[in-house]
């Protein structure tokens, strides 16, 4: 019966794949800022993603956590408005602005109705250009950040991530937590926050992506309205590429819990590497493919050792890994870890034609499904810009996946996948390690 379903699928496949092309316009504002736009006037609002490259990685060396705290304070009062007045202003316009920070970017997800878009943009401009950093807001948000640091320190997943990052990236900013430590955050002053803002929020660092009810000309004006008051150049250089250090070691961190959180990683491939797409397809078969990957089959479906195991090519702007994770009962952790290594190594034997075909149909078929809303589209464009991908990527990407052969996959498995290089961090009380 598998056969009958699958042959029906194979027939309909060709017709379905050339999904509608996504038209990404490049817009340059009168003030000289470029943006990407997917225009769609069917719903009267616009979604805007604004990303400032560098993110928390441009923290001054002895001020770890300053950019994180600064970002959290952008919505806590700006221009003439204190924190309350600013939030009320957004509510009155039914607009929203979410401020976030990662290793690679400070990001703002903004959404406004067409009818009052300019007023909402003025509020956002205040937040980015004229944040107040009032003393009471600083103390309040500092306490919240310190509380989140404590929360991370008591979360086995976060403990594993933190340790893995340190092992892989060492002294590079990727190797430490973006929120800083309780101690570093305690020492941050208002001047540090002002300096942190100038290190990252500047016009030469900004990437703008828009989707929804706005045309190119209006978008140009809107961008200048929001970003025109920012400094032309950021004061901090972008950090250097991160050099990955993996030794194939296994580290156990004691944690009193019935399960062990297992995190593992080895070197990955940059997105512009000629073998990236072969690795991408390979990863799907190995551990990226939801319920149908080899790791899920061996560890969950056959043996019930975990609720979920997954892998992915983790590409950041300055470095990349091939990483994965799971959580498993302490007394069977040794068995589950051995299976990860075994399945990892077995990829060198190659994949079946069926696996390759299924992986390609999934990866190519799933891609157009992501472009089904303004917010989602703006987010995708922002990720593409951050990773330095060209605009036509959205329309060529599936061809690159189609071009991957079984021989490519096997070659990449042999050249890149190495169970001996897999670094493990285990948080729990694992047995059999």
């Amino acid at each position: 019966m598998i056969r009958s379903f699958l042959s029906a699928i194979a027939l309909s496949l060709l017709a379905a794949l050339p999904a509608h092309a996504i038209d990404i316009q490049e817009v340059t504002s009168p003030g000289g800022i470029t943006a990407w736009l997917v225009e769609d006037d069917s719903i009267p609002f616009v979604a805007l993603e604004i990303a400032f490259r560098g993110g928390a990685s441009v923290d001054a060396p002895d001020k770890r956590g300053a950019i994180n705290l600064m970002t959290a304070l952008l919505e806590e009062g700006a221009g003439d408005r204190d924190a309350v007045a600013f939030a009320q202003g957004m509510e009155e316009l039914a607009a929203s602005a979410g401020f976030d920070v990662s290793d690679d970017a400070v990001s703002i997800s903004f959404r406004a109705l067409t009818e009052n878009r300019d007023q909402a943009a003025d509020l956002l401009a205040d937040a980015l250009v004229r944040p107040r950093f009032d003393a009471d807001a600083i103390e309040r948000v500092r306490a919240q950040v310190q509380s989140s640091i404590r929360a991370q320190d008591s979360d086995p997943q976060a403990i594993a991530s933190k340790e893995m990052a340190l092992r892989m990236w060492g002294d590079h900013p990727y190797g430490s937590v973006i929120s800083g430590t309780g101690q570093s955050v305690a020492g941050l002053t208002r001047d540090d926050l002002l300096a942190a803002k100038d290190r990252v929020l500047a016009r030469d660092r900004v990437l703008v992506s828009a989707a929804g009810d706005i045309d190119a000309e209006a978008l140009g004006l809107l961008i200048d309205r929001i970003l025109g008051g920012l400094p032309a150049e950021a004061t901090a250089p972008l950090p250097p590429d991160a050099e990955l250090k993996v030794t194939g070691a296994t580290e156990v961190i004691d944690w009193d819990s019935p399960q062990t959180v297992v995190s593992f990683a080895q070197p990955g491939l940059p997105m512009d590497h000629p073998d990236y797409f072969a690795a991408f397809v390979l990863n799907h078969i190995l551990g990226g493919g939801g319920f149908s990957s080899r790791l899920m089959e061996e560890i969950r479906e056959k043996r019930g050792l975990t609720y979920g195991v997954g892998t992915g090519l983790s590409n950041m702007v300055l470095g990349e890994t091939w990483a994965g994770g799971m959580a498993t009962a302490n007394d069977r952790t040794g068995e589950a870890v051995a299976l990860v290594r075994e399945v990892w190594g077995a990829m060198r034997e190659g994949v079946t034609d069926q696996e390759l075909r299924d992986a390609k149909t999934y990866l190519t078929g799933e891609y157009p499904l992501r472009f089904d809303g303004n917010r989602r589209i703006a987010g995708i464009l922002s990720g593409m810009q951050l990773m330095g991908m060209p605009r036509d990527y959205v329309n060529t990407r599936n061809q690159k996946i189609e071009a991957v052969t079984a021989a490519d996959v096997q070659r990449v498995a042999r050249e890149v996948l190495d169970p001996g290089k897999l670094e493990f961090v285990l948080v729990g009380r694992p047995e059999g390690i």
Binding site: I2, F5, L13, A19, H20, I43, F45, T71, A72, V84, Q88, E92, A94, D136, Q144, S147, R150, A151, Q152, S154, D155, S161, A165, L166, V177, I178, S257, Q259, S263, M271, G288, G289, F291, S292, M296, R300, R303, L305, G308, G310, T311, G312, M316, T321, A323, G325, A327, A329, R357, D358, Y362, G365, P368, L369, D372, G373, R376, G379, G383, L386
Partner: protein
Amino acid sequence: MMRRTLAFLLATAATPALAEMPAGVSHFTLDNGLEAVVIEDHRAPVVVQMLWYRIGSADEVPGKSGLAHYLEHLMFKGTEKLDAGELSKTVTANGGMDNAFTSYDFTTYFQRIASDRLDLVMGMEADRMANLRIGEDDWQAERQVVLEERAQRTDSDPRALFGEERSAVQFYNHPYGRPVIGWRQEMEALTREDALKWYDDHYAPNVAVLVVAGDVTADEVRALAEKHYGPIPPKPDAPRDARPQEPEQRAERRMTMTDPRVPQPVLTRSVIVPERNPGDQKTAAALSVLAELLGGSPQTSFLGQRLVLTGQALGVGAWYDGLSVDPTTFTVTMAYAPGTDDAGAEAALDAAIRDFLAQGPDPAHLERVKTQLRAARIYERDSAHGRAYDYGQGLAVGLTVEDVNDWPDILAAVTVEDVRAAAERALGGRAGVTSLLKPAPTGEVGTVQAAAETDAASVAVPGAAAGGPAPVTADADAALADSPEELGTPPMALDATAGAAPVPADTPHPAQPAPASPAPAAPASDPAQSPAPEQTR
């Protein structure tokens, strides 16, 4: 847990005009009782099929907790036509994703796929409505999987453990007091026979709601539904029975748990309140607005201004979700800084609540909430998947399509007086559960103090799980739905994880430590979050 209230309001707010069907939405019922809602959105060649069974963990018999969820997992183990795992493999091989989730009141299966594959996925979904087969080898391994799921989501998380005990104390008699995933010792005893009986008793077209959203037309969906679901006979006895209801609750209950894995103390106060009912949603609307006014935004909500802006709390929240078959809970939470004494924190919360009851809501704030609700009717059109969730969940808990359509107008009509009355009802009495989860020195894991301030505190009700049914949108970004924000989390979600992967344009999901959800589109029940009443496959 209940998700943040405004998010809930927004995600649920549908579109205009009392009792009128919004543009692009249609509704029909097949002869065998299967009810269907179609939501057209032609912006992208995508479709979501959701099949909601009006049966959930609160319909289980005592002693078999976790059965509804266990069967949900086993529904992927094949039929006469499909091998174990083949349904998901087929969906994946066609570029789609699929998953399922179980709540107190419903069990839901969904696929998101290219719109020209609807025939394929509907055929498979209909097949397993009638022809499930569970292999001898599969049921035991899958029982291990759900036990590992419990270990990951509940046993490893003191907030989740405390949450299920709090629910057990909250509900004396109603099965909302039992966790959706089940008590461990009962899960360990579930068998293939239990699962098949559950399936035979309850899986039928007259218990199901089909929701299809995306690049399809109502006529296409109707034709496909007739073809695939139409031939399946109804089962007259399949609909759930009425459940045991709560007696009047009189006693104040208090409970405390300490655990070294808890980062800071969180105080929670919860009471039982009415849910949304067909033709009768006014009280629920007032409670929804009340939750937003009390605990919505840290800067503008009443408790936020009183407790967070003054530095007495790190975060506050007020939660209510009326999408529930039976009465649900209204919950207020406060996370306070270490060093604040427990009694002082509670006194500050009590004083704030007293003042709110005395003053009533700020009319200007109520007006702003309504402005956002009006805008939500525009924003929510950006996610067909989110709208599918709204209709599906509404119908699954017994509302009609008209009730779902009317809800935004009922919310918009809430007055200051309505909010006052709702506040009196939710906050004015004493018969609630006040619970404190606090850090403990290492070595004292999970010390539960049976906090006997009243006799009621020691009532050992079999069951747990926090109030009311599931929030959660099936999509990380489905419209305006935040992921369920849990009680202990500080209000600000800046990522403190080192090396967190960005969202590059291509990784299906960031790979860093990905132990959590196995499937890309898992409904947002983050296992790190507190006791989500919903369990994902």
